[in-house]
Amino acid sequence: MFVLGMKHRKLFRSALVYVATLLVALIMAFPVFWMISLSIRPLGETFAPTLIPTQIDLQAYVKILTNPSLRIPFVNSMVVATSSMFLALLLGLLTAYGLSRYRFRGSNAVLMFVIGNKMFPPVLLTVSYFYLVTRVKLYDTLLAVILMDTVITLPFAIWMLRNYLDTVPRELDEAAIIDGCTRLGALVRVVLPVSVPGVAATVVYCFLLAWNEFLFAYTFTQSPENQVTSIKIASLQGQFWTDWPTLLGYSVLFTIPILVMFLAMQRYLVQGLAAGSTK
């Protein structure tokens, strides 16, 4: 019988860990690779495709970048995501600061209320929004989408920012107040500059949530000039025939900026989201 020595067993185990990790990583990343890989092939090569493309064709990307009706949704998504992110950051920073610095009776209840908002099903909200939006005549406007997206981003912003602000020593604000700052001044001039990592993670996450949002935009915008990217992607899928390279190229362009931001921010994102729940 073949008996492994201690050293060999360790080596074998370590090799097993490496192989298993590599395998898992390849499986998880493969669908993304496949999307990119098919988007850079000529149309003829997308049927019964080989693993590695034999020919590279960026026709789909040229088409997307030169066609205004395909370009506008990117601009709209940018406007919606940036606006919703700023709104969430503004309201979120104030609320998070209040919750972090003033410990009053019921402050935990307020936090629970904020988190509780994440439990409301978006589909349920759309049914109500339909009545509200038609009443205030905001149907088919980007403003409606921005306001609705902020319902999703704001609870996350409050949660992440409060967790971060809790790690900033209170003595900082108090020193600033003694030096003549108001509470708000202390927040803006002293606390904010030292909270950059927390704020950055929040900004990225809120931007992503709004950038990715589908349901509200799908329901409450209609005209092509108000389409956002996620809606355009859904509409590029035909019932019977789909221009796959264009659809995939579009999806890639939609995803790449996010992927880069995600990977760059991964440490802060995990910290921000996991804070308080990993104890």
Binding site: M35, L94, R101, N117, P122, V127, S128, L147, S251, I258
Partner: protein
């Protein structure tokens, strides 16, 4: 709250110099209100009010006439609604089980000693699906499930398996196919949260267990699991809350088809509202969905807490 009160120390050096004065309490509360109110008002107006308004909508018929609980009675007799409840349950339970077990396995794997560069590269690759939005997830998996555009049937054929690769068109497989896509794209989130929790376990605990003679399985059972208990419960709840009401992925991938076999409660409510314009019934379905989600989440919480 920390307070340093030492005789002879000037007041302004204390942690909270002014909070001992009684009338300051109301000042503090009003100060807090100034900061907290704008955000809370926003949520009240845009989230809580619409949430309550649905109840009112759900009591009306197609022409918005009050019919009491008529829509709820109708839902409980609607075979399609009952089908969506069943399919949502399958979707949620399969997803949550896979997320927690696979997420834990992956987290344990990535927590093994290995080269740092290799680990961070692999971690980034595994994380990639997390950055992908549900709409694009739907596109990617429609691609992978497409018999002509996917590499998977080619691979299966090369190892001698003859399969019909039309999962999304097949009523008995479509729901599983959609669930797999859902498992894939949020698995990284669960893995990362569990990895963060694993890394927060102090090494001394494992060392102490080893000294007491615990082998690897026992260390896992008596050190790792108790430590991760809370995060596991939190993640399960999180998954329940998200998956029960999930809409984007299914809508873009299958629109509930083929033959309603991937219709979930959320897509059904949406269809009733925005394709049939029966907002009262859609509201009732959505409210029922919310309560089923709540019931299951609280039930889960109760079961898991009771074991303490």
């Amino acid at each position: 709250m920390q307070r340093m009160e030492a005789v002879g120390v000037p007041r302004f050096k204390a942690g909270e110099p002014r909070n001992a004065v009684s009338h300051q309490r109301s000042c503090r509360l009003s100060g807090a209100c100034l900061f907290i109110l704008p955000g809370l008002l926003y949520l009240a107006l845009m989230s809580v009010y619409p949430m309550l308004y649905v109840f009112k909508i759900s009591l009306g018929d197609k022409a918005d006439r009050f019919i009491g609980l008529g829509n709820y009675v109708r839902a409980l007799h609607d075979p399609y609604f009952l089908l969506t409840v069943k399919q949502s349950l399958i979707f949620v339970i399969l997803s949550a089980t896979a997320h927690v077990t696979l997420g834990l396995l992956l987290a344990l794997l990535l927590n093994q000693p290995m080269n740092r560069l290799f680990r961070s590269t692999m971690r980034s690759l595994i994380m990639a699906p997390w950055a992908i939005t549900p709409v694009v997830v739907a596109v990617i998996w429609r691609l992978l499930y497409n018999p002509h555009l996917s590499i998977i049937p080619t691979i299966l054929r090369s190892v001698g398996l003859k399969v019909e690769w039309t999962l999304l068109g097949n009523p008995s497989w479509a729901l599983v196919a959609v669930t797999v896509a859902n498992i894939w794209f949020s698995l990284p989130f669960y893995m990362l949260m569990m990895l963060a929790s694993l890394q927060s376990i102090p090494d001394e605990l494992y060392e102490a267990a080893s000294i007491d003679g615990a082998h690897a399985v026992q260390r896992f059972r008596f050190v790792t699991i108790p430590h991760m208990r809370n995060i596991l419960i939190t993640l399960l709840l999180f998954d329940f809350i998200g998956a029960f009401v999930f809409f984007d992925l299914v809508w873009v991938m299958t629109k509930g088809g083929p033959a309603n076999r991937t219709e979930l409660m959320a897509t059904y409510a949406y269809r009733m509202a925005f394709e049939r314009f029966d907002f009262g019934y859609a509201g009732a379905v959505a409210v029922l969905m919310f309560f089923i989600m709540l019931m299951f989440s609280l039930g889960l919480l109760f079961l898991l807490r009771r074991e303490d």
